[in-house]
Symmetry: C2
C-alpha cells in the first residue's frame, strides 16, 4: 500500500465552483502516488453568512443550535467536492463528523477532539474511494453537533492524519508557504522549504495566518509532519518538520513582527517576592495575553516592571492597574503604544552563540534603539519604537542572509 | 398529558429571519394548549441555490452527494428556528434525520420512510423542549443521507405524527386553506372548514399546490388528521378529516379544473378485446399519465377511443400512436389541444342521486357543450372547449351553492 496523505483545503481554496473543480484536479493528481484523505473548510464567506443569520436572533444565540447551524457550511463544500471528483472519474464520498464518529467534548464552539473512527475512513480508502471529510466539527457522545472554533479544520486534518498514521498532512491555502518574513515588508523575503515545529510556533505572529497554532501543537504532540502549500499555484510549499534537519547552516529561519502592541511600565514598584504575580495575575484573569515581560534590577528595594500586551487590551489593562483593588504601590505608570516587536526565530540558535549580539549590532548600525529584550531558546524578541519597525525587519533580514 | 400536535412549516413560512421569528410566536402560542413537535422545510430559495451549486459539476451529479448537499437546507432552518424559540424563552432543540434515526430506503432523491425513533422525540417533549425536526430527509441503514423528493417535508411531518400518535398534523403554508375552487377564477370561492381525504385526493389539481399528495395518502393510511393553514395570517385553515362528518348538506366540496390538457381520439379503431391496452400500454410505458378515457359503443366492429393527457406530453403521444410499431389500425387520429377539464368533487355524491344531471343542466343553460364525461365515486369530470372553462367553473360553483 502506498502512503496515506491527508489534504486539507481552506475556505478560499473551495470558495467557488471553479476553485472546487481546481481542487478536484489537485486530488486526482496526488492520488496517482498516494492514498488521499481530504478535509474541507466551508466555502469562503459561507460561515459569515450563517453567523449573520444567527445574529437575527440575538447576540448570544443558543450554542448548541449555533454549532448545528454553522456546521452545515462544511457539509456543503464536502458534498460539492465529492461531486466534482465523481464527475472527473475519481470515486469520492463526503462524510460528516457524525458519519465518521468524530467525537468531541461538549463545549460548543470550542470543542476538543476526543476520538475518530479511523476504521471507517480506512475501509473507504480500501474501496478506492476518496473520503471527503467535513473539517471544523464533531459530535458529542449524545450526538449533538459541535464545532472546534475558527480555523479548526486544520486541527481536524491533523487529528485524522494522526489516527490513520498518515505520512503527512498537507494544508492547502491561498499562500504558497512560510516566508522568512512578510514579503510585503521585505520584497526579498524567501519562501522556506522547511521549518521546525518549534520555529513555526515561535513564528506565530506571521504563521497564524497560514495555519492554526492549535493544529501545529497537535501535529507536534502526535508527530505528524505538516506541509503548508498553495491550492492556487504549483509548488512544494513549506514542510513543518518533526526533526531539525540540515539546521547547521540555517541559523535563523525568519523574522516575525507585530506592530499592534502597547508597553506598560510600572516605575518604582516595591520589589517584593510575588510582585510579578500581583501585577500580572489580575491581567491574566481577564484572559489578556501578556507577552514580553522584563523586570529591572532592584535599587533601594524599588524596581521597574515592564510588559507588553495587544493594543486592543490597552484600556482594560490600564483600568486594572489603576484600580484600588490591585493594591499596587508605584511611583508612576508609563503607557507607550508607539512600540513594535521584532523577533528573530531559529532552531539553530540553540547551538550557536553570537546570534543575539549580531542582531543588536545590526540594529545599532541603523541607530535603532532597543527598549526591551526577551529571549527564549529559539527566539530573540526586541521591542523598538514602532516607526523603525520596517527598517529593523529589513536590516535583520539582510544581516542574517535570509534573502540569499 | 395534553395532546401532541405536529406542526410543519414550509419554505415561505421560514423564508427570512422575520418569518422565522413569526413562526416561533405561532409555536409559543400553540404550546400553551398542546405538546408541539415541529418539522421544517428549507428557507425558500435555499434548495434552488444548492441545486444550482451542484449543477456546476454536470447535469447528473452523484446522487448520494446531491442528497448530502441539499439536505443542509433544512438543517439551517431547523437550527435557526430553535435559536428563535430559545431567544423568546421557549426551550427547543433541532434534530437532523440522523439524530432521530429517520430511516429510509436508499433510493436517493426519492427515498421512502421506513421508520423513525419516536422515543427520542417523545423524551425530548418530556423535558419540555420543542423538537425541531428537519423535513424532507432521512438516513439509510448505513448512515448515508437521503431525501424524499420535493415537498417531502409534508410526508416527514405526517410520518412523525403517525409514529408519536399525534392528535393532528398542521401543515402551515402561504395559503389559508383549501377553497371550493380557485379564488382567482371565482372571487366568491369559499374556504372549506373541512374536506375528506378522498375529496382532497380528487381535488389534486388544486390541492397539490397546498399539500403534497403523497403526504395525504400517508395520512390516509395511518389515519392522521391533517390541517392546512397559513403561517401568515390567523385562521383555522381546512381540516382534511378522516371521517365524512356533516356531509349531509355539503354534497359538493369543490370544483377542480385543468386547462393544460390535450385530447386524442382514434376514430374508427377496431373494437377487439385488449384494444385499450394496445393503445395506452405504450403511452404508460413512457411514464405519461393518461386521464379521462372514454370508449364509444361499437358500430360494425369499429369504435372511437378517446383520452386526454397533459399538453406537454402531446408530441410524444402523437409519435407513439403514429409509429408503425404500435400496429394500430384506425381511420383517423384527431388531436385537440383546445380543451379543458372541469370536475365537481364531493363525498356526498355517494349517497345522493341527481348530482350529475344538475351539473349537465347548469352547463347546458350556458350553452356549454360537454365533449367527454368520466365519473368516479366522488368526482364527475367533464371535458369542454377551453374557452368556456372560466364560465363553466363559475356556473358550477353557483349551481351547487358553493358561494353560500
Amino acid at each position: 500500500m502506498s502512503d496515506i496523505i491527508v489534504q486539507k483545503f481552506g475556505g478560499t481554496s473551495v470558495g467557488s465552483d471553479e476553485r472546487i473543480a481546481a481542487v478536484a484536479q489537485i486530488i486526482k493528481k496526488a492520488k496517482k502516488d498516494n492514498q488521499i484523505i481530504v478535509v474541507v473548510s466551508a466555502m469562503s464567506g459561507e460561515t459569515n453568512r450563517l453567523i449573520n443569520l444567527a445574529k437575527s436572533f440575538g447576540d448570544n444565540p443558543d450554542r448548541r443550535e449555533f454549532d448545528a447551524l454553522i456546521s452545515t457550511g462544511e457539509k456543503v463544500s464536502a458534498s460539492l467536492l465529492a461531486m466534482a471528483l465523481n464527475s472527473i472519474g475519481v470515486k469520492a464520498k463526503s462524510f460528516s463528523a457524525s458519519q465518521i464518529s468524530m467525537k468531541t467534548t461538549d463545549q460548543h464552539s470550542k470543542a476538543k477532539i476526543i476520538d475518530v473512527d479511523g476504521e471507517k475512513i480506512l475501509s473507504t480508502l480500501e474501496e478506492d474511494v476518496v473520503p471527503i471529510i467535513t473539517g471544523f466539527q464533531g459530535v458529542t457522545e449524545s450526538g449533538d453537533v459541535t464545532t472546534l472554533g475558527r480555523g479548526g479544520s486544520d486541527t481536524t486534518a491533523v487529528a485524522i492524519a494522526a489516527h490513520v498514521n498518515a505520512a503527512r498532512c498537507d494544508i492547502y491555502t491561498d499562500v504558497d508557504g512560510i516566508y522568512t518574513t512578510d514579503p510585503r515588508v521585505v520584497p526579498e523575503a524567501k519562501k522556506l522549504d522547511s521549518i521546525t515545529m518549534e520555529e513555526m510556533l515561535e513564528m506565530a505572529g506571521q504563521g497564524a495566518k497560514v495555519i492554526q497554532i492549535r493544529a501545529v501543537e497537535f501535529a507536534n504532540k502526535f508527530q505528524v509532519p505538516v506541509r503548508v502549500l498553495s491550492s492556487f499555484k504549483d509548488g512544494n510549499g513549506t514542510l513543518i518538520s518533526l526533526k531539525e534537519e540540515n539546521m547547521e547552516n540555517a541559523l535563523i529561519s525568519g523574522i516575525a513582527f507585530n506592530k499592534d502592541q502597547t508597553k506598560f511600565t510600572l516605575h518604582g514598584v516595591e520589589d517584593t517576592p510575588g510582585i510579578a504575580y500581583k501585577i500580572l495575575g489580575p491581567v491574566n484573569d481577564k484572559d489578556i495575553s501578556v507577552d514580553v515581560i522584563v523586570q529591572n534590577i532592584s535599587v533601594n528595594g524599588k524596581t521597574d516592571f515592564t510588559f507588553t500586551v495587544d493594543s486592543e487590551d490597552e484600556e482594560q489593562v490600564k483600568s486594572i492597574l489603576k484600580s484600588k483593588q490591585s493594591g499596587l504601590d508605584y511611583i508612576d505608570l508609563l503607557i507607550d503604544a508607539d512600540i513594535a516587536k521584532v523577533s528573530i526565530v531559529g532552531a539553530g540558535m540553540r547551538s550557536h552563540a553570537g546570534i543575539a549580539s549580531k542582531a543588536f549590532e545590526a540594529l545599532s548600525n541603523e541607530s535603532i534603539n532597543i527598549q526591551l529584550i526577551s529571549t527564549s531558546e529559539i527566539k530573540i524578541t526586541m521591542v523598538i519604537e514602532d516607526k523603525y519597525l520596517e527598517l529593523a525587519v529589513k536590516t535583520l533580514h539582510k544581516a542574517f542572509n535570509l534573502d540569499k
